[in-house]
Symmetry: C2
Subunit: 357 residues, 2 copies
């Protein structure tokens, strides 16, 4: 095992991502550091606003560690926003509770694309790297730290739309009407994400995850061209870096269940799956060449502890025996969830997957 | 061919749905009678509000026929709202431009479910049947008329949420916390939709389509139980009716690309596909046992005529040679589209698919 992982006291996640045997299925939860936790809301309150929370390494570290103190999680994930890169590009990000992110200066034309600043991670995004370093120190090898980025396509949707969108009409206009502008934008984003994730690896991230939250809105042919190819370029760049090359890479295209066989071929180690996908079917499709991460519907966390436990059992049974499963939700945990229900989930995953000894 | 179809002057749609040879690929467009057409907006203005437009057979007939006068479409589809059944159940439907449908009395408890009125189609939904009869008379066998309904699950999402939703948390709470209440609701809706579509067949509809707009938000196991099984019950009921049994049935689960092999087994004639699905792959998955309908991304209609034409060629090539393709968008046409672009789409489908003679 590479030096990034050799001192870990809990290496279940790393082993599962490498499809090695584990004593029980590792589990972490997308958005595990978030609004459903009262201690998170308290830190967020102290920070004043969400961006300050993201940009203050001590606070980002604090909220990253909060869920680990409550639950027996097998990983920490860097607390940060998905839009740090476009923010560092100077687009004027604002985040208002309830209405989602907005950019004051959206990217609409080829001139807009050409004038984009390429952020240097260690200066323009230093607060992220400082947070990674601080979290690694505080974690003290308790569990691995996952670093992450949005995918180029997902970043592009926000940058072009300028805000959350239901139909993605502006960014789709760009790909259908000005594909060369879209290609140029995605090229810049591929480079920027590669540098960003490489810097996170150098700062101490032990797993890297690419969130392709909006890949699933693309047509099957456009997905390959405008979302998967840029992700593949990032994976290639990471594999060429002496530090990053040793880290497991997880790629999660929400709504991408039909495309798992293609995604499995880009050289990543694991694929995220949302709840529309049967993990059994997914294993067959990817022929067990990559690990799978997922995939409980987050809405189950609103049900009774008994239902949560039986739903966990269903996901474990759906994946079936053998290595290569990382338990997670199929999307982030929602704000109104009772933290005790999350505890039921985490403990159930370990209990129900542990081999009798 | 059954009497519902024997006098049709253009039977391409019927033939394609039965996987018989056609001179060129038939095409119609979801929401082809809609806001992108100035003549529609004029009729809508005269009606005063959307529900009056739906509930006045003469006006519904008028807007149903409008796109046929502009474009060389191979089908008419009944102009109506997807929520006519819950409206007739007494839930107090209102439709306000921009914010989507709302119900004054959403369904939340088992008592709410038990007190639901079962609408009688020929009395409580007589305006729909009158519209079908009038459209058939006015169409005069020019092209077939498609009747439709929302799927039980899709109707249930609106009835339980009470309005459009992003996360479907209330209806998911019902399936995870009170599955017996959800089952009871879906059972009532299956019966009601069966009666509604049977009545449309008796009134003159020549094809029946079930729109499962929100099936794709369910987990893979829940989809089968809460969306597909109720649809299968409807198909069974239609097959048992002496008039409806002869009509081709199209089932469209948006976001259901991973589940096409299952949907193909419920006895319907054709599956709708959205643009995330490769039609080539879909044919392989369903082993050519059903026809396929789709699947251009509606956003392409905002691009240039040349791009529209090449995108049509791509969809036709993706389906490939052989019978069983009905061209359509992967979702409804959006309000801002230039009608001339729709003409390019329709004409391109015919031109590019016609066998050289």
């Amino acid at each position: 095992m590479n030096s990034a992982h050799q001192d870990l006291r809990n290496d279940r996640l790393i082993r599962a991502l490498r499809r090695q045997d584990v004593d029980c299925t590792p589990v972490w939860i997308m958005r595990q550091a978030g609004r459903y936790l009262p201690e998170y809301r308290a830190t967020r309150e102290r920070a004043g606003d969400f961006l300050t929370l993201c940009k203050t390494p001590e606070l980002a570290c604090e909220v990253t560690l909060q869920p680990l103190d409550r639950f027996d999680l097998d990983a920490a994930i860097l607390f940060s926003d998905i839009l740090t890169i476009p923010d560092a590009m100077g687009l004027g990000l604002s985040l208002n509770e309830g209405e989602g992110p907005r950019f004051a200066r959206p990217v609409r034309t080829s001139a807009d694309v050409e004038s984009l600043i390429r952020p240097d991670p260690e200066s323009d995004l230093r607060y992220v790297m400082d947070a990674v370093r601080l979290i690694r120190r505080e974690l003290n090898d308790r569990v691995p730290l996952i670093g992450f980025s949005g995918s180029p396509w997902t970043l592009a949707t926000y940058m072009v739309e300028g805000r959350s969108s239901r139909d993605f009409s502006r960014v789709k206009d760009m790909i259908y009407r000005e594909p060369s502008t879209a290609r140029a934008l995605l090229g810049i984003l591929s480079e920027s994400v590669s540098l960003y994730l490489t810097a996170q690896a150098h700062a101490g991230a032990q797993v890297l995850m690419i969130f392709d939250t909006w890949g699933g809105v693309l047509g099957h042919a456009e997905y390959r061209y405008f979302s998967l190819d840029p992700i593949a370029q990032i994976v290639e760049a990471l594999r060429a870096d002496p530090v990053a090359e040793a880290l497991p890479i997880i790629v999660f295209t929400k709504g991408g269940g039909q495309w798992l066989p293609r995604i499995a071929q880009i050289g990543c180690d694991a694929l995220g799956c949302d709840w529309t996908t049967s993990l059994r079917e997914a294993r067959r499709l990817v022929q067990d060449q990559v690990a799978l991460q997922g995939n409980l519907d987050p809405a189950v966390l609103n049900a009774s502890p008994d239902k949560i436990r039986s739903a966990v059992a269903d996901v474990l049974a759906d994946f079936g025996p053998g290595p290569g499963h990382v338990f997670n939700l199929g999307h982030g945990v929602t704000p109104g969830i009772d933290p005790d229900h999350v505890k039921v989930l985490v403990d159930s995953v370990h209990d129900l997957s542990r081999s009798p000894s």
